[in-house]
Amino acid sequence: MSSRLSWFILLILVLGFAFLYGPMLVLITYSFNANKLMTLWGGFSVRWYPELLTDSQVLNAAKNSFVVASVSATFATVLGTMAGYVLARYRKFRGRLPFSGMVTAPLVMPEVITGLSLLLLFKQLDTWFGWPRSMGFTTVILAHITFCMAYVTVVMQSRFSTFDISLEEAAQDLGARPLKTFLVITLPIVAPAVISGWLLAFTISLDDLVITLFTNGPGSGTLPQLIFSKVRRGVDPTINALATIIIAVVSTGVITSHILMTRAERRRQRDIQLALQSNK
């Protein structure tokens, strides 16, 4: 630690940061551009922010995105937890290979293919059963659940495979039935993984454009769809403002969780010290 930073390391550091954060900095800077032309600096201004917040189209899309992301993340978490549990616990059952293959397929499948296949499926279902009549919230949420579940399954499977089964056995030994054991012992212990699975699903759903384009209809356009269409029609500085807000929200979230985790870890260390001291 005592050795000074050499110019080479410093250079790498600067280049690395520039590579990672440069685009974002440009974006944030231009969100305060007074000029309507994206590529020309016309002085400092915050005019795009109020304009953005009064733009009902943007607000509506943000709301749609939020609804789609939270509903699909919730369903994906429930299904993914169940699938992860089965895959981690039951090493052998008929159809395990196809099951695990199908569950994780969306991870490796190109999004265009997933999107197209879902679109065809919905159309076919409509001709056969008269459902879903049109593309909209239902179809986009179903599509998002499908691929978000894959991520949650991976997270939960790895969590369950390191879970100490003797905890469940102890609960049953003390008289708890299997379902109760799962609800009062297993679930609270894996809760952090469930939460991170949900957040992962939420983020991925919020971010998705390709599958959404295939499965969404009018009236339920999401934020990525709106941004995409706006950019196509000609760049608009309000998009910069919108992106800046998103970056601000995400950064706040990351920094807060980091502080909370550091604090929890410090408390843990203190507890361990305490336990060692009280051990006569």
């Binding site: 003797s166 030994d173 003390l174 008289g175 109760k180 009280s278």
Partner: protein, 381 residues
């Protein structure tokens, strides 16, 4: 010690009473995992109030047997009865047993108090009674001041006491303990051993302890079942197991032992004479073993039952000359490694009765190893 306790029990030694009804009956139980036979046709009767130890090395099937009693594994064949009830279709949460896990398996998201109360809550015991019983058991294991701590805030010994309290609080008919003292240091281990024996005396619960530590089994148990390769090698009181092992495996597994290979030349009701190349002079045992002369057998003699002399006592049997090849001074006793004239090495333990004895036996001394005629045990397998 354990033998005395067993004797003090009102019913005496139920395993010697042909009319006694066993509390736990294990009948021809076999457990296979794929092709691997973990438990192989084990039959065992355990009586009410016993502290029974299942002793064996790792992979001998002792833990699998315990898990079948708790209901976590189903026997491939055979039956298990607890208090006369067939356990075949009874799931773990309905069995009258509680188990203390080797890993303790304390619920990490619950405090000490909540961990202990968990079992009572499942039985819908009223809140006031739960509070009282948890309080009592916390006092018993001296953990009252830690009631609100989480398991990760406890040391190994404290966790072990919480696990014991949690398995005891429901006052099960049968308590199963899987390597209960494995993770403790020597001092704490001894203290806890006596604590477990106290609790067992006070509550009269039947205990089955699984352990790989023979010293632990000897101290704790009223009877020991020695297991090997999924089978019960011998069942008996600690004294029987130690003094009269029935196989070479048991003799070797429990304590330390010198084994000699020999051939029976004389087998009368009152004595046996065994010719042995390793000892030179024959081995004379003062009780018969009723087998045909000419049979080959093993003779086991415990190191503390042998004695070293510096001069030849001149006896025709039970004496073998050798050279001292090593001395380990342990304080209360010394262990000598003797190379007999045949090249066979034996261990002899002698207590250090006198301080720095003038007749001290030292490296490379010529000595004569002798033993009493009732010390050797002849083993046919």
């Amino acid at each position: 010690m354990a033998a005395e306790r067993a004797k003090a029990e009102a019913s005496g030694q139920p395993w010697n009473d042909p009319d006694a009804v066993p509390y736990i009956r294990i009948e021809n139980v076999t457990k296979k995992f794929g092709d691997f036979v973990a438990v192989n046709d084990v039959s065992l009767d355990i009586y009410r109030g016993e502290l029974f130890a299942l002793l064996g090395g790792s992979g001998c099937g002792k833990t699998t047997l315990l898990r079948m009693l708790a209901g976590f594994e189903q026997p491939t064949s055979g039956r298990i009865y607890i208090d006369g009830v067939d356990m075949a279709d009874i799931p773990p949460y309905e069995r009258p047993t509680n188990m203390m896990f080797q890993s303790y398996a304390l619920f990490p998201h619950m405090s000490v108090e909540q961990n202990i109360a968990f079992g009572l809550k499942q039985d819908k015991v009223p809140a006031a009674e739960i509070k009282e019983r948890v309080g009592n058991i916390l006092d018993m294991v001296q953990m009252r001041q830690f009631a609100h701590r989480k398991p990760h805030q406890l040391s190994g010994g404290q966790r072990q006491r919480v696990a014991l309290a949690r398995s005891l609080v429901k006052e099960p008919k049968l308590l199963l303990l899987d390597e209960p003292l494995g993770a403790l240091d020597k001092k704490l281990r001894e203290a806890t051993q006596f604590e477990i024996m106290n609790i067992q005396d006070r509550l009269g619960i039947t205990f089955i302890v699984v352990t790989h530590d023979q010293e632990e089994a000897m101290t704790l148990a009223s009877r020991i079942g020695v297991m090997n390769h999924g089978q019960i090698a011998q069942v008996g009181t600690p004294k029987e197991i130690y003094e009269y092992p029935n196989t070479k495996f048991v003799a070797d597994f429990i304590g330390s032992v010198n084994l000699f290979e020999g051939q029976i030349v004389e087998d009368e009701p009152g004595h046996v004479v065994i010719a042995c190349e390793e000892t030179g002079r024959p081995i004379y045992i003062d009780h018969g073993i009723s087998t045909a002369p000419g049979a080959y057998c093993w003779v086991a003699i415990r190191p503390e039952k042998m004695e070293l002399l510096k001069t030849d006592p001149g006896s025709k049997s039970n004496c073998s000359p050798g050279i001292v090849k090593g001395v380990a001074y342990m304080g209360n006793l010394s262990i000598y490694l003797i190379r007999l004239d045949s090249g066979k090495e034996v261990k002899v333990t002698m207590s250090n009765q006198r301080r720095a004895a003038e007749h001290a036996i030292d490296w490379d001394d010529r000595v004569f190893v002798t033993w009493h005629a009732n010390s050797p045990v002849a083993l046919l397998s």
